[in-house]
């Protein structure tokens, strides 16, 4: 028996992601958690607009494609009508923290019993590398060709910190996927978030710092270093909200 293989909840097919993009790792971790909890048949996933727009192709559970930023509202509609099912959204930084800010904040404030997987790579990937709401000060993107100037372009949003101020948020953790240890931590966080949902404790979010080698203009390996050097100081890892109690 293989000791490491693709989880069943992730369909056996190539993905469209660029080489070295950590979306693939995060997809796998969500699928592993679904497998381990035995909830594939009771889960509905919602894919965003962005690089992971085709996520519905890859997961073997029921899937829904949402319009840009509206996943938390879509998830609300599903979950309210099907309170015993697991509902997760999978959103990028533009989807969650720019166009979908209202939907995100209010789903969190209402304490919607859903799990949000938030992939933060500080850039718009699908459209070709424009400034994201999480683009770092000084970071070069297609629409900040002189580097993000906080006077002109404003400041990046720390989503986990911001959401953790809301009473409806039962769990918020920021993780990354740069090495086996941080990947294991990310999986633990995703599992925790799904367990929080299972216990009907409220809104759970796992913010995963991710790389975008293509639009950062770096090799996949250099992108991992860039993340650690530049994103970590601005986006410290850790648990920002945990109303899960002792599990």
């Amino acid at each position: 028996m293989p000791s490491f293989k693709r989880p069943n909840a992730l369909i056996d097919m190539p993905t469209h992601y660029c080489p070295g993009c950590t979306h693939g790792i995060i997809h796998r971790l969500v699928a592993e958690v679904i497998d381990e909890m035995g909830i594939e048949g009771d889960t509905v996933g919602i894919c965003p607009v962005g690089c992971s727009v085709l996520e519905y192709v890859y997961f073997s559970c029921d899937m829904m494609q949402a319009s840009h930023g509206r996943s938390p509202a879509v998830a609300t509609g599903i979950k309210r009508a099907n309170p015993d099912k697991f509902v997760f959204t999978y959103q990028g930084d533009g989807d969650l923290a720019a166009i979908g800010t209202a939907e995100t904040v209010h789903a969190a404030a209402r304490g919607e019993n859903i799990t949000v997987i938030f992939v933060n790579n500080a850039i718009y990937g699908m459209t070709g590398g424009q400034m994201a709401p999480t683009t770092l000060p000084g970071q070069f993107t297609q629409t900040t060709p002189y580097g993000r100037d906080t006077v002109r372009e404003g400041h990046p949003i720390r989503v986990s910190e911001m959401l953790s101020t809301l009473d409806g948020v039962a769990y918020a953790e920021r993780t990354m996927t740069v090495d086996p240890k941080s990947i294991a931590n990310t999986k633990k966080a995703i599992r925790k978030a799904f367990e929080i949902q299972k216990a009907k404790k409220g809104f759970s979010i796992v913010e995963v710092l991710s790389t975008c080698p293509t639009n950062w203009g770096l090799t996949p390996l250099k992108a991992l270093d860039w993340l650690k050097e530049n994103m970590l100081p601005h986006y410290p890892l850790g648990v920002y909200a945990d109303k899960g109690g002792n599990e």
């Binding site: 829904m64 509206r70 609300t76």
Partner: protein, 349 residues
């Protein structure tokens, strides 16, 4: 049959609940607030009832998308500026072939306009409700009773053809009270088999989606959808009308009630006027209009707008009859004498 005195908005909400709609998502806007308020009071008392006051009309329509996508009958309501916000979600609902009912209790525009009644969203509902190639069946009630009957009908059409359906009411209909009967409304709500509600390891996964990157597949999907639209046009177009009139007054919704009075007055004065009242705006009841105008020498369209139904009337008549227009805007409802005056002008020409 027992009758109760109810506001149009409340009657619409009650009819939806009786028809088995247990999920409602909305956002406050005048003059439709009674629907939201009624739902907020009634639904939590029903087993499985869902009421969410969303963060915006955008949020509400996407909650509808999620709920309908999970196979559960649901609805939302709003008024003109709010429908503009819902436009995105309506396009996605159409693109994913999801049934739902959207009530527009129209107020005046453009912009914030007024909270007074209007019919200025005819174009929006019938021609440009969202981006892309799509049509949304649009029902036009003209009484509190029809707010009930058409709400029930709307769910039927929505689920039969897998499409959102709009009830295009107006502030007057929403706010006025009339005796209304709920009769025997059948609650036949059942989870849609194509919904994404968890496959339970018992069936293939369901995917709710409007993205087709392969041009052939998108074209095929749109063609398939337009075949359904053709069936809707063939079977669901409805109108009430007088026959053999020489001057036909075409009006829908609240304006049709005023037009009825004007037509009756004209008849009392010996003018052979008749009323044509479309009950569906898309599909526009072309056949019915042709029948109603068999003996007509002219048509007068009356609306609470600058004349948005006029084009549909002209096209339905293949530009063979003169089509006049009389309308009021800004929240005014035309009065019967204004319309009568116009009928007389046409009659004297």
């Amino acid at each position: 049959m027992n009758k109760v005195l109810m506001k149009g908005n409340e009657a619409c909400a009650e009819a939806a609940i009786r028809a088995g709609c247990k999920s409602y998502f909305g956002y406050p806007i005048t003059p439709q607030n009674e629907i939201t308020a009624y739902m907020s009071k009634a639904l939590p008392k029903i087993d499985g009832g869902v009421f969410v006051q969303a963060e915006s009309e955008i949020g509400a329509i996407h909650m509808v998308y999620g709920c309908a996508g999970s196979g559960v009958r649901c609805m939302t309501s709003s008024s003109s500026p709010g429908i503009s916000l819902k436009s995105e979600g309506i396009s996605y609902l159409a693109g994913a072939d999801l049934p739902c009912v959207i009530v527009n209790v129209q107020r005046g525009g453009p912009g914030l306009g007024t909270i007074q009644p209007s019919q200025a969203d005819y174009f929006q509902a019938t021609k440009a409700i969202g981006h892309g190639d799509l049509k949304i069946p649009t029902l036009a009630p003209n009484s509190v009773q029809e707010m009930v009957d058409m709400t029930v009908k709307a769910f039927e059409i929505a689920e039969k053809y897998r499409t959102p359906v709009i009830i295009l009411a107006d502030g007057l209909l929403g706010q006025m009270m009339e005796p209304v009967s709920f009769g025997e409304i059948e609650n036949n709500a059942a989870q849609y088999p194509y919904g994404a509600y968890g496959h339970g390891n018992k069936r293939e996964r369901n995917i709710i989606n409007s993205l087709y990157l392969d041009p052939l597949k998108l074209e095929e999907k749109i063609n398939e959808r337009f075949e359904r639209y053709a069936k809707i046009a063939e079977t669901e177009a409805a109108a009430e009308y007088d026959k053999d009139a020489t001057i036909v007054v075409a009006a829908y919704g609240s304006t049709a009630r005023v037009a009825r009075s004007a037509v009756d007055k004209a008849r009392a004065e010996g003018i052979n006027a008749g009323l044509f009242r479309p009950q569906t705006l898309w599909p526009f009841p072309v056949k019915q209009l042709k029948e109603a105008t068999g003996n007509a020498k002219a048509v007068l369209v009356s609306e609470m707008s600058m004349g948005q139904m006029v084009d549909d009337v002209k096209m339905a008549l293949e530009f063979k009859l003169p089509v006049e227009f009389y309308g009021r805007q800004g929240g005014f409802v035309p009065n019967p004498d204004e319309i009568l005056k116009k009928i007389k002008e046409i009659s004297n020409n």
